[in-house]
């Protein structure tokens, strides 16, 4: 039971990290609370559905393609929709709601509201003595962590990452050093959406696909990011582990709704004590 819980906790933490890192990256750089973030998760999931079930592509090939597709949509959305609202938090927020509605509606038109499912590419369990670990969950946890590590490398050890961090600190200074926000910001938005798309793509075989799946993903991203401090990448990672673990423990022992409820209450209490989140800048 304990090890199983740990595996669920790891899966859930890794998934939350994927969701939250993109969300918090976009907020940190552009001050956009992206209510459409969940819809980018949905885009990743539907992309995998189309690539594998409709086009017959291999699932493991479909994952990165789906991520890139979500990222591309993100770049387009940033350029076409969000650009005029830079610096207008409320306007950007309402705009992101509009984008969420449009994406949901488009998916409903194309795929109807029915649940779709992607056959599980991985099956079987690993067992050590009396402990059984489902392979597909291990795969999700493992690849999510790989993506997170890759993202971490990108942010901390590449020129692009340096530029991202510079823009997040001070747009004007970054501009003075020749880092054009008009290039960096869409890229950052795209990277955030790639992470969201990958989250959707990786979990497709575990959950079913439907046009409303974005809301649950958004909720998760929200509470993690709020707990970690809006715009803080390390905060998002730590908070994802904290919430992923509590979520897993409570879902195993009580119920999934109870887990969500508890994490909400936890977040509300923490925010009341420290409104900037646990690791956020004041």
């Amino acid at each position: 039971m304990l090890v199983q819980t740990l595996v669920i906790a790891a899966t859930s933490s890794a998934y939350m990290m994927l969701l939250a890192l993109g969300f918090t990256l976009i907020f940190g750089l552009m001050r956009i609370v992206n209510f459409a973030h969940g819809e980018f998760v949905m885009l990743g999931a539907y992309a995998v559905y189309v690539l594998t079930v409709v086009c017959g592509l291999n699932y493991f090939v479909a994952i990165p393609v789906a991520g890139l597709f979500a990222g591309l949509c993100g770049v387009v959305a940033e350029r076409l929709i969000f650009r005029p609202f830079l610096g207008d938090e409320l306007g950007a927020m309402i705009t992101s709601l509009a984008l969420a509605i449009i994406l949901q509606g488009a998916v409903m038109i194309i795929f109807t509201v029915d649940q779709l499912s992607v056959p599980r590419p991985i099956s079987g369990v690993l067992h050590f003595g009396s402990i059984y670990l489902p392979n597909d969950q291990l795969f999700v946890a493992g690849s999510s962590f790989l993506v997170v590590i890759a993202f971490h490398f990108l942010v901390h050890h590449t020129r692009l990452g340096l530029a991202l961090r510079a823009v997040a600190q001070d747009t004007e200074i970054a501009r003075a050093y020749g880092m054009a926000p008009s290039v960096i910001l869409p890229l950052a938005f795209g990277i955030g959406c790639i992470l969201a798309g990958l989250a959707g793509a990786l979990t497709v075989p575990l959950y079913a696909v439907n046009p409303f799946m974005g809301e649950a993903a958004l909720l998760k991203a929200f509470i993690v990011v709020v707990l970690g401090g809006l715009g803080s990448l390390p905060g998002a990672m730590i908070a994802a582990v904290v919430l992923g673990t509590t979520d897993a423990v409570i879902s195993v022992w009580f119920s999934a709704t109870m887990a969500t409820l508890v994490s909400f209450v936890l977040v509300v209490i923490i925010l009341i004590v420290k409104p900037s989140g646990l690791w956020g800048r004041a």
Binding site: V33, L90, I94, L97, G105, I223, T260, F264, V268
Partner: protein, 313 residues
Amino acid sequence: MIRRWSFVLSVATLLAYLLIPLLINQIFYTHLAILIGIHAILAVSVYLMLKIGQLSLAQAGFMGIGAYASALLTRDVGIPFEAALLLAGVIPALIAGAVGPLLMRTKGVHFVLLTFAFGEVIVLTFVEWTSLFGGNNGISAIPPASILGLQLIAPSSFLILTVIMLSIILLCCHVAFAGDLGVVVEGLERNEPLQSSLGVNALAYRCLIFSGSAFIAGLSGSLYAHYLSFISPEAFGFWTTVNALILNVIGGAQFLMGPFLGALLLAPLPEIFREWVHYQRVLYGVALLLLMRGLPQGFLGLILPRLRWGNNR
């Protein structure tokens, strides 16, 4: 002069909104009008918060508290509808008043996120506390509304109640904002630190508005519950608040009549074009985007350009 004209026009619109469906006398149109009214009342509660420059995503949650309170109090406790309607406003208002001082210490994005979380907590409570709220199955067999012993079973009589409620709410808001409260609220939205330095307790006033908005949202919940005689948690989620916000943006969030106009334009669409519901979502979204870009004052901003204020932030 413009003020008086806009007041006359508002009253005329409300009257037409009441009389046209009554004259047509077809249940479908009466039904549409009632839905418009309920949506408009919720949208007014969102409007109140926008008036102090804050977006609350907990409004549908407060609507839900009002709906469940009213339903349970009439069905299980057996108190008369009039009292339940009042309590449906008072209970959410008290809850908002209690959490207000905590939530309202944050502003802007953090407040939006907190109210989002709070709204979800409310809905999850309805889902989880099955013994009281019936879980996902919700509550059914809610008794119809009745005023002074008169049962409002016919849709046309319920429409009259809805329009009266909406008119009272709009009138109260109008009177309140035309007076000293309007001065304070205007200052809160425009420059809160300055306003505080002049001796105004900004937090207390923001909590007052938050409470008032929860009161109004609760009333819309009560009407909703007794009209449909069935409620379930998902009706009071995040997207219901977002819809109310859209009504504001489309109608013109700067104007008290904006939310009503938005409801008038948008609330009937899903009922009229049932088979086109998915296309409607896209249409809603695109309309919202275009309005945010090209017409941030909403449609009323187009009609009443001389009344506009406060868009130069």
